[in-house]
């Protein structure tokens, strides 16, 4: 059970899809005009993400590796259709304000990313909790952006208006405002960042991907990683050996030089002594 809670913490704080992983930027920038839209989009994505992770994880040994992406897409698309019909039936106002971005959940990179990176390699329970964590992280991210944008741009929170019309900064309701707010909040997140593999606090591995192999797909990467590490260690050992040898040589040379100088000195003193006499 501990692992499940860790997945939720990971999704909301450590690898928040909006502020840390920077995934799913398209809905993030497009639908966050009001807080209601942000929450609605986040929760719809969460629902799809939980079930897609669960199903993909359960089927991970049946789906052939070569056709896994089409298989994932079919699963996700079926789930999105269900969510879309449910939204249309029960919250038509939200459905109409989210518009095209509901069907676009199918190609949301958070969903495909988690399927590839986590669900395809872990058990159904952990994968479902990973989906919950990532989905809630996405919801939190969207809601934060949407609240800031709604306050500044429309003078309201969840539709409750409290800033008079004269003092609203309309640009925050438009596309540029989405970029401003996302950048600002990401900067804040970086300032008070929780350590994670992607924001630079984890120990560096020297690999371009950050070496976060636990959440990476494909065992070949792991073997590559091992091979690369071995090569690196060998090179380091060789370099150290060469350095040591060079140092020894230098020390020997120094010693010899010192000896020679001493001998010369002695000879010189002898000569001086001889002169004095």
């Amino acid at each position: 059970m501990n692992k499940c809670i860790e997945r939720i913490y990971n999704g909301i704080i450590k690898e928040n899809p909006t502020f840390v992983l920077m995934l799913g930027m398209c809905p993030t920038l497009a639908v966050t005009t009001t807080a209601t839209n942000g929450v609605g989009m986040g929760l719809s994505t969460t629902a799809v993400l939980v079930f897609s992770n669960l199903i993909i994880s359960a089927l991970r040994k049946i789906i052939p590796d070569r056709v896994r992406i089409p298989a994932y897409i079919v699963i996700v698309a079926s789930l999105v259709t269900i969510v879309q019909l449910l939204l249309q039936a029960f919250v038509p106002s939200l459905y109409s304000s989210l518009g095209i971005f509901i069907p676009l959940i199918v190609v949301n990179c958070i969903i495909l990313g988690r399927a590839e990176a986590y669900a395809a390699k872990n058990g159904p329970l952990e994968s479902a909790f990973d989906g919950i964590g990532m989905g809630l992280g996405f919801t939190v991210g969207l809601t934060c952006i949407a609240i800031v944008r709604e306050i500044l741009g429309a003078g309201a929170v969840f539709g409750f208006e409290f800033i008079p019309e004269d003092f609203r900064i309309t640009i925050f309701g438009l596309a540029p405002g989405a970029f401003f707010v996302l950048a600002g909040l990401t900067a804040l997140q970086n300032k008070f960042k929780a350590p994670s593999a992607t924001n630079g606090s984890a120990p560096r591995s020297g690999l371009a991907c950050g070496g976060n192999c636990a959440s990476c797909s494909g065992a070949s990467c792991m073997s590559n990683h091992a091979a690369l590490e071995a090569v690196r260690e060998k090179a380091e050992a060789e370099a150290a050996a060469a350095k040591k040898a060079a140092a020894e040589k230098a020390a020997a040379a120094k010693k010899a030089a010192a000896k020679k100088a001493a001998a010369e000195n002695a000879a010189g003193q002898d000569a001086q002594a001889a002169d004095k006499e």
Partner: protein, 311 residues
């Protein structure tokens, strides 16, 4: 020790110009237009100017203090940004709007990209466009007690004809508009001062204004008064001499400056004649600012000794 024997590293010949002296020259050049604006629109225009400059300088100081950066307040670039921004405001604007614009211009457009010399578009104009989008109504409300009615460009847009008296009013500045843009003659005095002191080269302003004139002649009306009204109306002269020539956001290659001027002219003409709003100088300049690295790349002069050779 004689000076002849004093060995020092190159460069041995230095210009006496500093960022501060150049920025001071730009401020001096804007004074006639500012004075006219204050005289024309009244005391509130002066307040707008003071508040905007103060907001720019203060936000630069506070940002650099907080981020523990070297202070660049004394180079006067923030003062210039503030002045340009203020001169782009309607005179009766509530004071907090230009202050907000100044903070946005300095912090978001200038400092976040690395401070002076690093900004990718003119901070004052970006601040102006930010305000223009956010407070469209207030930013284009030029009604004053004594001067009401549409700006000349809006009249042109509506299809009204201009006569010689109207043109004279536009040249002197007896028209509604933003604080700094109204008086062509005051702006020209400032522009000539800058050119005489070699702070700016005339390539950008001249090609810009000529291109707008040609564009208006071809795509607008084939009428001298119409073309002249396009040149004297709106922010064209102000933009051409003071905003398009900003060192950071305009090309440094001579050929590039001409390309830049032509591009500005075409964009301005497009926005004015085919676009939805009557004025387009600000947007034309910030869009062209984005293309400056590209222009510079394709107009790089050949290195000494490599002329005539194809690389």
């Amino acid at each position: 020790m004689s000076k002849l024997l004093n060995v020092s590293a190159s460069p041995h010949v230095r210009s006496k110009e500093t960022t501060q002296s150049i920025m001071a020259d730009v401020c001096i050049a804007m004074l006639p237009a500012t004075a006219f604006g204050v005289f024309h629109f009244g005391f509130h225009a002066l307040l707008v100017l003071i508040v905007t400059v103060a907001a720019c300088v203060l936000s630069e100081y506070v940002f650099q203090k907080i981020m523990k950066l070297p202070l660049t307040v004394s180079d006067m670039s923030a003062v210039v940004t503030g002045m340009i921004l203020a001169l782009n405001m309607p005179a009766n604007i509530p004071l907090w709007i230009p202050a907000l614009g100044g903070v946005f211009a300095i912090i978001v457009v200038k400092q976040l990209y690395g401070g002076i010399g690093q900004n990718f578009m003119n901070p004052a104009l970006a601040g102006r466009c930010f305000l223009l989008i956010s407070f469209a109504g207030k930013m284009s409300d030029f009604a004053m007690d004594s001067w009401s009615g549409a700006t000349p460009l809006a009249q042109l847009k509506a299809g009204e004809a201009m006569d010689a008296a109207d043109l004279m009013g536009m040249f002197i500045g007896k028209i509604p508009g933003t604080i700094g843009e109204v008086s062509v003659v005051a702006l020209l005095v400032g522009g000539i001062y800058l050119a005489a002191k070699k702070v700016i080269s005339l390539r950008i302003p001249v090609t810009y204004i000529l291109t707008v004139a040609v564009f208006a002649f071809i795509f607008g009306k084939q009428d001298m008064n119409y073309v002249l009204a396009h040149i004297c109306g709106g922010g064209l002269v102000f933009g051409a001499f003071f905003m398009a020539t900003d060192y950071v956001t305009s090309p440094i290659t001579p050929k590039g400056q001409i390309v830049f001027g032509v591009l500005l002219g075409i964009l301005t003409g497009l926005f004015r004649i085919f676009g939805g709003s009557a004025e387009g100088v600000s947007y034309a300049i910030i869009i062209s600012n984005l293309l400056v690295p590209l222009i510079e790349r394709f107009t790089l002069p050949a290195a000494f000794g490599k002329e005539g050779k194809k690389s």
